[in-house]
Symmetry: C2
Subunit: 764 residues, 2 copies
């Protein structure tokens, strides 16, 4: 292969570094108004009265949207339930909940108008944590059950037993007989781990430009799944899908925070009312108040034989989904399903709950439920090893699933050698060497998630003009991950054409072939297959024509450097074949490719996993005993790429994932005070700095061509996050003997733990 | 059929009448500059020196384009020859020829900059008419031969014998033995007819917005053939086709004047130089100076038997193509080929010439060469009738080709009953009744042209979303003719779905399936077939799926009102089938349709005619003997629609065509003085007013389902123009006994003819 596996320049690289690349915020339309949102200051309150007359009367105000203007629409939407209104109807449910919105000729007029809206609230008691939400007689965030809102075929419903509670979904999963497993176990470990809500923090905040002209809606949106958004908007605004056109400019990062519906309905409703295009661009604070990652509490009970074999596990997971469910139920389901981790555990029992609280809604985030459980099970593995006096590496190697072994019956068997990756990170971190410094230590972790998502449906097209130039049509959003380059490499490889000959068309739901979304690390496999199939379909058409021209058989033709050859001759260029075909320089040929998941009754989740996204991490850290600060001396990440289409981008993705997880591990958490988020900005919300990165940072791509994607590729990039927190926490334990069960591992928390341990040591 | 043949509301009607519809002039891009063009004041001059330094230095000027900035590009382009430069290189060839262009922050700065460009010309003698151009030792408009520029497969070349002349193309055509035919004839008629250049006068002048970002070119353009334009721009700017994206908003009329390349390269070159989007919107005057219809001189010699049978014809046609050939050679070819008209003439000899002059370039215009010859042959038919004492109706009926008879061997035989239409207009005008008023008279005419163009290549796609809503992808430009509505009717009919369910996607060469252009009355047949095939392809996919679901055989399924039925059951909706198919509300199915002309060695023009566009006209006029003014009392137009997809639109097209031709007949002509066009505006260039329209105006659609298009449809709309001038002129003869051979029939010309006739009568 001449293009696959090579690290070409990014197709959109120059446009991005020169500032030419267009993001939604750059879209300007004639007559475009500025949209601004008024948000609730209270975490929970009844909305008694809203008087927008003064705002409406302000010169320059084009539309004011309150609950009184929603009668034309279906005001409720949501990825799992239709529980979220465009603006508050009866209640506000978190501090930041949109109450009203304004479209005005400019930003200052819009801001002024917001200030003129008069509101009367009746404050209600709020539930800010899972504990408060689950307390008996807790105030209810939602009094009623909601229609199922999911458009991708999943069925979510809270069992009847949870009526009148804040639980909106439960996923339960059993394998073997957990009680029996625990009876057989020699040791039983029971620990509870927590991690807080964190924010995605994309470089680009949520942005939308909506233009409803009375007949059709055009939307430029920072969305990872425009076709899903199209369906949501069709329902909300009672429009047929063909009257909604969503165009996705470049996206400045998604990480799950731009899936499903976010601020788009507000922009659309304002445009509808104002009869003008309306742009809404979030501030950082507003994006913080729009979507977050589920904070969670995970109680994990594991039975172990004396030799370290895992015998049984029971998991109880509470996911804090905030005021609206968003993708919470599906995240919960995945957390529950992945609770065994990459280990052989004959007896499993999981209950995972989605819980409403009066905080910012939580939805999809890289890892999608796995970080919440891998933090628990990989921390506990080291607790077990310590207790049994086993090497954490050996304990893991003993319990890891074999390649080809079932994770659960009916699902895709494990598709890589789990031990290989673990041994490689252990070796790279110098596992068997003593720590090089005082107050330092090493930790290991590995994780596995069912990658690629479910209910996947995707398609792609590849067009060749008669001059041999190529246009790729893909619904995969280029959000910084380099998908356009990787997918174009597949086209170029299949057509034996230079990569420069391929251009990716603007993503536009009117014309781009359907794709379910850029999520779940799916693009390389799912869209990659579509693109490969489309390119091969095109090639088949070319070869059939060339065979006539060259009087050869299709089987004997080869493609080399943009030409078709029969044997050793000079070959015939694509351009020549096509020009003869059409008798002119007009015309084109188009190849198409499709992908659709196949349902399986045998699979626990209804669909077999597309591929296993597997990752391993090893950390060496040093603790400052005076401050409790953790410095990462070295981090090694290994990820199973199957086949790296573009190795530099794969490593970049992996490094980025680790960096994100370092933030989650050491600093990040959304802090509420009196029901309100107090750190929705970069000063108070601590992201990793360059100085926080490991001094030495290795990313190992494992390539065994064992993926279902093109050339054996798998999806990567979410995996890298998963081992980070437990690897660092395990290193902390090995460096200083302290075990922290609640993320993040802030200096204060570490310092207190060190102090407590010292005190305990003193007491002993 | 429930939708075909019904006159639905136009799909884009509301958008247009409310002003919402977007035309190129409405496109606004951030940072967009205003482009303006400096034009030559001289009809023919050598460009000695050009100094743009002062213009460049003017604050607010972003780019100045002169011949010095063309080195990166292929500066010459053209539909038939690459004879036209982006801006003048060595010479200017007509008054209006672009010499330089400026992009500036606003219009006034651009205008100011134009005034600062210093030019030195050396005037050359000009040839303003065909006669001057053909005179011995006439100055040459072009000293050199040019590369063939046509991208649609035609080969044009002036024979070597014309080197060193202003003739750039000749089409010669023979059938039988003309000399022998004339020997056998009892009468020989030889007449010379002329008609002047006229302007298309679209409501929307030529407009372009170009945005070249260093890698890709996006162009919003008022073009009738964006894919052809894309190929031209690819050559000019040395870009692969996939780096050029042309978007066509609504078009405010085309009539042939927006085919091929017009001002687009100027906008692109300015954007290239300015690194900004650039908009160029022509004034009316500039559009007048951009493109026109060929003025022509046609000498026609016809041999007739004593009973009125046409025996032989010789035609010599000179088409004034102005300073650049544009589509002139092809127009000339068509004029030559169509010289027999709808009549059986066993012996034919035609020579048609394309001649350069120093006037505004002439290109495609409704009728495409036919008005130049039908004016001649239909006038002469009445001259023959008068001389032989035959009724003009009877003379025509005697000579009209039969249905099924060859026009030329190898071409499509005549596909309608030519006599039927003629009888119908004769009856409607009351042919056999005496004139109702003094100074009034009636005239008849009929005409036939090979419709649909040649080298036609087209494709379409129809997408159905899972909610059953439909998007049609078509390269046919909606330029006021109602094509989007008619094509959507075909989709709706094929899918038994309401018309409201169909939306037409924005035309965008990146994503719209290839189409050779909206011209030659081709859309209903050529694109109509593509659309019908695409809809049927989609239906086939739907039915295959429904058959599984309904456990029926595809053959036994029927579509009714958006549902699929097996027998009498309640049926299953499209939405239900698709949702089950994809397991969710995601997904789509796409049907595709193609059309490609088949070459034929037997056909004179290389391709058989797609359909015969036939039209008949009858006029009753009244002359004011004091002023010579012609008032049209009644006009009857009949057109062979095959099957009218949308009868109201067909009649509207036909009426519009007649109205245009009334202008050409009575008023319109481009007037030059000292080499410069003196009437490029609506004050001096006389278009028809409402008062000029016939008091009674009938449009008869003849529907015999004899066309090759969907449901037997044919293309219409150009045909209606053709009979108008001869019908009115023939009526003038019958009213007042004067025969005018030079259009337009201005009051002055008529008054002079009346006066001369009176004088002659006095002399006799």
């Amino acid at each position: 292969m001449s293009i696959i596996g090579k690290s070409a320049s990014r197709l959109e690289g120059e446009a991005k570094v020169t500032g030419r690349a267009i993001y939604t915020v750059d879209v300007e339309l004639p007559g475009m108004a500025c949209g601004r949102i008024l948000r609730s200051p209270y975490p929970h309150a009844r909305l008694i009265e809203i008087d927008a007359r003064k705002a409406r009367a302000l010169p320059g105000v084009l539309a004011v949207l309150t609950r009184e203007e929603l009668s034309e629409f279906n005001p409720y939407y949501g990825a799992a339930y239709r529980d979220q209104p465009i603006v508050a109807l009866d209640k506000v449910r978190y501090a930041g909940d949109p109450v009203a919105a304004v479209a005005a000729v400019d930003e200052s007029t819009a801001e002024e108008a917001l200030a003129l809206i008069e509101l009367e609230y009746e404050e209600l008691p709020a539930v800010m944590t899972v504990e408060e939400a689950l307390a008996p007689d807790a105030p209810l965030v939602h009094e009623e059950a909601f229609e199922q809102g999911e458009l991708q075929g999943f069925q979510y419903r809270a069992p009847d037993e949870f009526k009148g509670t804040n639980i909106c979904y439960r996923f339960s999963f059993k394998k073997g007989d957990a009680s029996e497993g625990f009876r057989q176990a020699d040791y039983i470990f029971e620990d509870t781990f927590t991690l807080p809500a964190v924010h995605h923090y994309s470089m680009e905040a949520h942005s939308t430009v909506a233009q409803f002209d009375g007949e059709r809606l055009a939307l430029w949106a920072s969305t990872q799944d425009p076709f899903i958004l199209q369906n949501h908007l069709a329902e909300i605004f009672r429009l047929p899908a063909n009257r909604i056109r969503i165009i996705v400019p470049y996206l400045g990062g998604g990480y799950g925070g731009k899936l499903s519906v976010k601020t788009e309905p507000l922009a659309v409703a304002l445009s509808w009312k104002a009869s003008r295009p309306v742009k809404i661009v979030h501030s950082v604070e507003e994006s913080f108040k729009t979507i977050t990652r589920h904070g969670a509490r995970c109680r994990i009970k594991t039975g172990v034989a004396h030799d370290g074999r895992l015998m049984a596990r029971e998991c109880e997971i509470y996911m804090d989904t905030g005021a609206y469910a968003d993708a919470g139920p599906r995240v919960t389901q995945k957390a529950g399903y992945r609770a065994p981790g990459p280990y052989r555990i004959p007896h499993m029992r999981t209950d995972a709950y989605t819980v409403y609280t009066n905080s910012v809604p939580a939805g999809a985030f890289r890892g999608f439920g796995t970080p919440q459980v891998s933090w628990a099970y990989e921390s506990q593995m080291d607790i077990i090893a310590a207790r049994l006096g086993l090497d954490p590496l050996e304990l893991r190697l003993k319990n890891l699933l074999d390649k080809g072994e079932d994770f659960t019956p009916g699902d895709r068997p494990v598709d890589c050698d789990l031990r290989e990756g673990l041994r490689r990170v252990a070796e790279a971190i110098g596992w068997h060497l003593p720590a090089g410094k005082p107050n330092s230590g090493k930790g290991l972790s590995c994780s596995m998630r069912d990658g690629g998502g479910a209910y996947k449906l995707a398609s792609a097209a590849v067009k060749m003009n008669t001059d041999g130039s190529v246009v790729l049509f893909t619904g995969t959003v280029e959000m910084g991950q380099g998908a356009h380059t990787a997918l174009s490499q597949i086209v170029a490889e299949e057509l034996s054409a230079p990569l420069e000959r391929v251009v990716v068309a603007q993503l536009d739901t009117d014309v781009t072939p359907y794709d379910a979304g850029t999520n779940a690390s799916s693009s390389t496999v799912v869209m990659g297959l579509c693109v490969q199939r489309a390119a091969r379909d095109l090639k088949r058409q070319l070869l059939a024509r060339a065979a006539k021209k060259l009087k050869g058989r299709v089987e004997n033709l080869t493609l080399r450097e943009g030409k078709i050859h029969a044997g050793e001759g000079p070959g015939i260029s694509f351009e020549e074949i096509l020009t003869r075909w059409f008798g002119s320089r007009g015309g084109e040929i188009v190849g198409r490719g499709f992908y659709q998941d196949k349902k399986s009754k045998k699979a626990v989740l209804g669909f077999p996993t597309i591929f296993w996204e597997v990752s391993w991490g090893a950390a060496e850290i040093e603790i400052d005993p005076e401050t409790g600060a953790i410095k990462i001396l070295k981090y090694v990440s290994a990820t199973d790429a199957g086949k790296a289409i573009h190795p530099v981008q794969c490593s970049g993705q992996d490094e980025g994932a680790v960096m994100t997880a370092i933030g989650h591990t050491l600093f990040e958490e959304m802090v509420y005070k009196d029901g309100a988020l107090v750190n929705p900005n970069l000063v108070d919300y601590r992201l990793p700095y360059f100085n926080d990165l490991p001094k030495t940072f290795d990313s190992i791509l494992i390539e065994n061509q064992n993926g279902p994607g093109p050339y054996g590729a798998k999806g990567i990039s979410e995996g890298g996050l998963l081992p980070v927190a437990p690897a660092i926490s395990n290193a902390l334990y090995r460096a200083a003997g302290v075990r922290i069960r609640d993320l993040p591992l802030t200096p204060e928390k570490v310092w207190r733990a060190l102090k407590e341990k010292k005190a305990e040591g003193g007491r002993r």
